[in-house]
């Protein structure tokens, strides 16, 4: 464990970045963007994690101070949820745009979707 797991999320991020930069298929680019998104979300969850922590849900008979002793940090989890929702909206937009582009150009190849120049 230790720092390795953080470095792994960075590796995932770089994989996504590579796909976005190097691939020419629109669907693959969308997948790459999603991988970048998930890598950041993963890091965000890891930031709030503590070893042997419990889920930050208040159970009957427990005070907030007890939970703060044992629970993992709930704030990054709320942030991740927000970020996932944003990612969902963006994915829907990307997919619908990809379908529209396929309607107009008849291809998913970025090299052939090139009316704009200069």
């Amino acid at each position: 464990m230790g720092i390795t797991i953080y470095l792994l999320t960075f590796a995932v991020l770089l994989v996504g970045l590579y796909i976005v930069v190097a691939k020419k298929n629109i669907i693959k680019i969308i997948v790459g963007v999603l991988i970048i998104d998930y890598a950041v979300n993963l890091l965000l969850v890891l930031v709030g994690y503590r070893s042997d922590g419990v889920a930050p849900i208040l159970s009957p008979g427990q005070t907030a101070a007890d939970l703060a002793e044992t629970g993992v940090d709930p704030l990054p989890q709320a942030m991740v949820l927000t970020s996932i929702v944003i990612g969902l909206g963006i994915t829907a937009l990307m997919v619908s745009m990809a379908i529209r582009l396929h309607q107009k150009y008849g291809t998913f190849d970025m090299n052939r979707i090139r009316k704009l120049r200069g």
Binding site: I27, A55, I57, L58, P60, L81, V85, L88, A92, V95, S96, I99, R100, H102, Q103, Y105, G106, T107, F108, D109
Partner: protein, 154 residues
Amino acid sequence: MSQPGMTIIVKNTTRIIAGFIALFGVYIALTGHLSPGGGFAGGVILAAAAVLVVLAFGSGFAGRIVNEPKCHIWDGTGAMGFLVVALCGYITGGFFVNFIPIGTAHHLLSGGMIPLANLAILLKVGAGLAGAFVALSAFKYGRPRSIRRVGREL
């Protein structure tokens, strides 16, 4: 197949379970302040019921139950509801301030305005996701014929 949609097995199963799926979504949203879940998760489940109906019966027939104008209206209503809950906070002090008695913890009627906000999010997310799915599933009808032959690219 003469009829749109999937086989009779799928249709009948959908007929029975779609309502329960939707109900489960509402349950998840209603108990969002007590257990994991909440408006977003409930809304996704609610939208899953709508997606199931569209898939099983085909978007033509299911359009009577799940269609774009309906989704727009409910989506707007949900978002508006959330904003109204936030603005009602002005009654007691400010934006997003709780204006309902908090109640005893771990009971259904507790959490102040959180359940109301969850219900609004349920509507918003359910209608929004269902609307996104309906909009995406409508695309295949609008495809121009001249391009259809190059559909092998994927």
